[in-house]
Amino acid sequence: MLRTLRLALAALAILGIPALTSAKDRDVSIGLQAAITSMDPHYHNLSPNNSMMLHVFEPLIKRDANQKLVPGLATSWKALDDLTWEFKLRKNVRFHDGSPFTADDVAFTLKRVPNVPNSPSSFATFTKPIVDVKVVDPHTIVFKTAATHVLLPSDLASVMIISKLHGEKAATEDYNSGKAAIGTGPYKLAEYVPNQRVVLKANYGYWGGEEPWDKVTFKILTNAAARVAALLSGDVQMIETVPTADIAKLSADKKYALVDKVSNRVIYVHLNQRTDTSPPYVTGKDGKPLPKNPLKDARVRKALSISINRQAIADRVMEKRSVPAGQLLPEFFFGTSKKLQPAKYDPEGAKKLLADAGYPGGFALTVHGTNNRYINDDKIAQAIAQFYSRIGIDTKVETMPASVYFSRATKGEFGYMLLGWGTESGEQGSSLRSLLATYDTAKGMGVTNRARYSNPELDALISEAMSTIDDKKREGLIQKAAEIAMNDTALIPIHYEVSTWGTEKGFRYTPRTDQYTLAMGLKPGK
């Protein structure tokens, strides 16, 4: 029926009668910034992959543009008790080959997730808490967890459901070739060329209604200037991550439209507190090590925070594509506190704090950062250094590619580390636990706490929050934890990145906080 209609429309178009759509209008190309490393939805837990997978596969629970959980392949879910969750599955959903979707596929998926050979970053993190799966009927499934796991729905939003029929013997290669890449999503995989492109075709029988595009080609355009050039020359209709340098020109040009949205990624600074004496790259002005670690002094940390003019960075370095940050997530996310506003720029106050802490003449430090990981990362590092040199801190800047940087940062080889953190779960508790809880790998606490900041009061609150299933109560606990951490300047939040998408005129993209670029969010029309 649809096909006939489309044929008729195409005929109209040929006759020169204006029609709503024509064949060409239904093809679209999109320029992506990072490579898709696999089409196996359980091979590599990596944002660009996760974003791409959402076209072909679907999770039980989806996230909307603000990362709120919404029904996906499950229509509803609830905790029966502290350890048991029941999920009702959507009926009349079919895989791309026409086979029906049932609870068996979900059970099969959970079995496969931890068993993907050579996976460099597994999705088992999300399924591990589930110790037992019971298929009640084809559209009801029950999960048991060993301990209270409040983030289960959020975790399952990251797990794509695959078909048992096609997945039984399939390996990662079979997903890449398209043989096993049979999901329930709005698009079918047509072609995957590593490091080059992914081509998708519409799934006309999609349960959620038909998409406006017949064919979507994602091109990998890693170089920012090349990406913009591709948009300007009409090779692609949309690009993600418009470089800030080109924002002014593109937004002035009537032929293009820009949309943006504050993201879940905070750019922050970790201050090395592993040692009691001078940490690496922090010295007196004479270059000699300091007897005490100044970064362990909350007054020094506060001085380092309030001497940064965040608004100036947002205006001048980020072309207004960043929002000054006072905590780890923008205010509309779960667990954030309205009391935590970005630190006010106060260089005089900073000088006083430094003097109080026993460094009236300042000291010397090196700002270490990446130069290919976050938006304008090397420029932010330089701007911060400018601000510090004005309060008497001798500041050097050293930036390097992520490949060198992260290994060294994890080993604690830097004193002042500029970093970024995207909160995929969309709630501040998990970020506090990863970044600021006392480093304890056995408990899974502070796993990314490169500064080794430690505060028992904060740890207790985080642990309590993690085992509180009541949302309201838990949110209160997380807010309190965040206030304690930020008032102690446990880390220095700089800003939240604002993601920007650029389209040709005549396209409209619904921007997302998770920085995903989805063809489903791209519609024709103004």
Partner: protein, 327 residues
């Protein structure tokens, strides 16, 4: 000749083994791939699992030994990132790069040598000086800058050429090539020019220098005196005598063009090995880096061999097998 070839082969194997070892050390020194591969939100259990899955929990020497054993049976390992055999990933991308390199080299040779000859024969004329001045442009501006300016002019402003990617391909002897279709030519034009510029300048200057020397030599004067035509004098006597350094440089440059078209490929999103290499280096995808360099070394060895054979053909005074027999 055969003995020479066999000896070179033995040496080459040694080079390959040494090379792979150096790359192992190098990548090891840069950083830990797990830092880049594992999702930052993952816990310690997951990190340990991933480290083991990729074989990175073994000691450095054990890892190298595993690699050597695999390599002996033709298996260079699987990409950490893509989970496909590193070699097949590279071979998939190699035709695009070789094609780009050849088109660029052909441009450089067929423009560079004639222009260099003209500049060398008439060094003081306006044309000669113009050619020399122009050649300076070719190597004084960074490739990435020239590349973007080309895109700005020809794709964005004029809209004549596509800004990125490779065009439609046709199969020739089972290998996909794009320079036989109009679409393919439109795509390859700018990256090839971008890549050729530096080589072109170098060839112009080398040819000019060689020509200027050659025309003053007695045998050329003699040939002229004999009344040979200008064309024959240049084509046979001059050209033949300036070819040795030019062949060396072409050999070197062809290798480097194939191997390291990194910048050009990333600016034009050309789906070749250069782009693969830089992405692999950025992600510390060691199997791909190692396999890539082994492929490249093999390629270099072949090119060098061909160049050495060419020497002996161009100049009988150069004997193959190095100078072993000379003492």
């Amino acid at each position: 000749m055969l003995a020479y070839a066999i000896r070179r082969l033995g040496q080459s194997l040694f080079v390959l083994v040494l090379m792979s070892f150096l790359v192992f050390i190098g990548v090891f020194a840069i950083g830990d791939p797990i830092e880049l591969l594992v999702n930052p939100q993952a816990d310690e259990v997951e990190r340990i699992r991933a480290t083991a899955a990729l074989g990175l929990d073994k000691t450095f020497l054990e890892q190298y030994w595993v690699f050597l054993k695999g390599a002996a049976s033709g298996d260079l390992g699987k990409s950490f990132v893509y989970n496909v055999p590193a070699l097949s990933l590279i071979l998939q991308k190699l035709p695009a790069t070789i094609e780009l390199a050849f088109v660029a080299m052909v441009m450089a040779i067929f423009l560079g040598i004639p222009l260099g000859l003209v500049a060398g024969l008439k060094p003081d004329s306006l044309v000669g000086r113009g050619i020399m001045a122009g050649s300076i442009l070719g190597f004084s501006l960074p490739t990435f800058w020239v590349g973007l300016v080309l895109i700005m002019v020809f794709s964005v402003n004029l809209g004549w050429l596509p800004s990125n990617g490779r065009g439609e391909t046709t199969l020739v002897a089972g290998i996909p090539v794009s320079f036989l279709t109009l679409d393919g030519l439109a795509h390859i034009a700018m990256p090839a020019v971008n890549l050729a510029l530096f080589k072109l300048s170098l060839l112009i200057r080398l040819t000019r220098a060689g020509t200027r020397e050659a025309v003053l030599q007695d045998y050329v004067k003699f040939a002229r005196a004999k009344g040979l035509t200008q064309g024959r004098v240049i084509g046979v006597h001059v050209l033949k005598n300036i070819l040795i350094p030019i062949v060396t440089v072409i050999g070197l440059e062809l290798g480097s063009v194939i191997a390291f078209a990194i910048v050009t490929e990333s600016i034009f999103a050309w789906p070749g090995t250069g782009k693969l290499l830089i992405d692999s280096i950025n992600q510390l995808d060691r199997p791909v880096i190692v396999a890539y360099l082994l492929v490249i070394v093999t390629l270099f060895i072949v090119i060098n061999f061909v160049v050495d054979v060419l020497y002996s053909m161009l100049d009988p005074r150069v004997r193959l097998g190095g100078a072993a027999a000379a003492h």
